[in-house]
Symmetry: C2
Subunit: 287 residues, 2 copies
């Protein structure tokens, strides 16, 4: 039943959504918009979108479903701009990495009889670098796609059917859908996504300082070092918004990791080191 989709932001995620929809058999039209013309053109060339819009607001008005695939503050900007021009026949969804602030804005501006529906979404997929040219129809296959509270979005006139249809397309892209409350979402991703990222950033930054002048030694670390620092390539532009909108849970997780590292450092020669390894082993056995 969805025939027209607008994708605002044809970076890695937006482009991948377009490609994945096409691969899953979406036969309707996909309109793309991107702040930089290069990224838009690339998405068009790759076939992720059928045509480009010069005005994102008009593109969203033409579409039944608008996917905002931008950093969090830019997402909120568009939520504000679109709230006055879209009506109950529209659904907006997003792919932002934190959900409390976006849900707050959605509760203020959407999901009422006279407004469009807003469905807060978060596909747990990405790469350490962004950009349309890395777009990948398989990016979401096997990944979890989180939705934070779709009950509100189902309350509008068009929302119920569009939410159901969009969830089916997400499943068709290969993702497993999990529903989770926004506050729980942000706490949980602080552990399983944001903490690993900030650890990789700190580790990479420290290693740049300590061994960065001896590039041949980076090879010495092999696969283990490459994996532990891969996320060091992640762009600040995306993570700034995450750090700003999930500060409390990330601070908490970082503090506990600092304490854990200190404990490990103080016990390199005591039996407590065995306990740490055994607890870590248990985490991996569960994977």
């Amino acid at each position: 039943m969805i025939e027209r989709i607008a994708i605002l932001g044809t970076g890695l995620l937006g482009t991948s959504v377009g490609l994945a929809l096409k691969a899953a058999g979406f036969k309707g039209s996909i309109i793309g918009w991107n702040r930089s013309a290069d990224g838009a053109q690339k998405a068009l060339e790759m076939g992720a979108v059928d045509r480009l819009a010069t005005d994102p607001i008009l593109a969203a008005r033409e579409a039944q479903v608008t996917v905002i695939a931008l950093p969090i503050y830019a997402t909120i900007d568009f939520m504000e701009k679109l709230s006055g021009v879209l009506g109950p026949e529209h659904l907006i969804t997003d792919v932002g990495s934190t959900k409390r602030m976006i849900v707050d804005v959605a509760q203020r501006l959407y999901n009422r009889p006279e407004t469009a529906a807003f469905l807060p979404g978060h596909p747990m997929a990405g790469k350490e670098r962004g950009g349309a040219d890395l777009g990948d129809a398989e990016l979401f296959r096997g990944a979890v796609w989180l939705f934070s509270d779709d009950r509100d979005a189902r309350r509008t006139e068009g929302g119920k059917a569009l939410v159901k249809a969009w969830r089916e397309w997400v499943a068709a892209m290969g993702s497993r859908v999990i529903d989770i409350e926004p506050a729980r979402h942000d706490e949980m991703v602080a552990w399983v996504s944001h903490l690993p990222q900030f650890v990789a950033t700190a580790l990479s930054a420290l290693l740049e300082e300590e061994v960065g002048d001896a590039p041949e030694l980076k090879d010495v670390g092999g696969r283990a070092l490459r994996e532990m620092t891969r996320l060091g390539a992640s762009p600040f532009s995306m993570w700034r918004d995450i750090a700003h909108t999930n500060t409390g849970p990330v601070e908490h997780a970082l503090l506990l990791l600092e304490q854990r590292l200190q404990h490990l450092r103080e016990n390199l020669r005591t039996p407590a080191l065995r306990d740490e390894f055994e607890q870590a082993n248990r985490f991996r056995q569960g994977q």
Copy 2:
């Protein structure tokens, strides 16, 4: 010129050495010994060794080159046992992850006119789990194989030719050889190998505590989480000896990472966060 090799310890590394030697065209005989009969039998079945020894000392006496592929303290035990029974026609080499203590023992017991030669080695390759059944002829391809000070080993009667021949076999297994002084080796691997391991252990142990009771949430982290915790599966039995024999450099590296994480935590909403990401980006650009 090497016709008989003994491998003491047919775990992941020892078995892989045997398989890689065969794959590289080694036509001589390889005798294997392992503390547990199961691991020895598995290495034999996989073709990593031609036959098994019941007495590791006799196996080493029969061989021109003995490869000790055991944790560090077990390696040192064998260095002591073998020093009285091998002569200048023998070369011993090892694969231990720290080199200062092993070089100290080697200087005390080996590399004299009447003794065997000892060449301290360290292939920068491994997997997060051990065992003969994970043995892999390709494990060392593209990896760096470090030697710590091969000058001493070249001084014995048989050492010079055997060291040269063994280095050629290491290259034939696909590794790039780098020579490095033992103290510099231990400082350097503290940064590029031991720090990443202990971070992965602390992160995995912390996550087990925080989200271990919700296994479905582990999937949410996706590839990034899997990579950042893969080393959490590493066995304490191996890392205990590393923590004991490289305590100072590892303590230093951990302390600096704790400080770096604290700095990042205190700057989640300041421009200093950008500096951290950009420094981390530079490390990855150099990779």
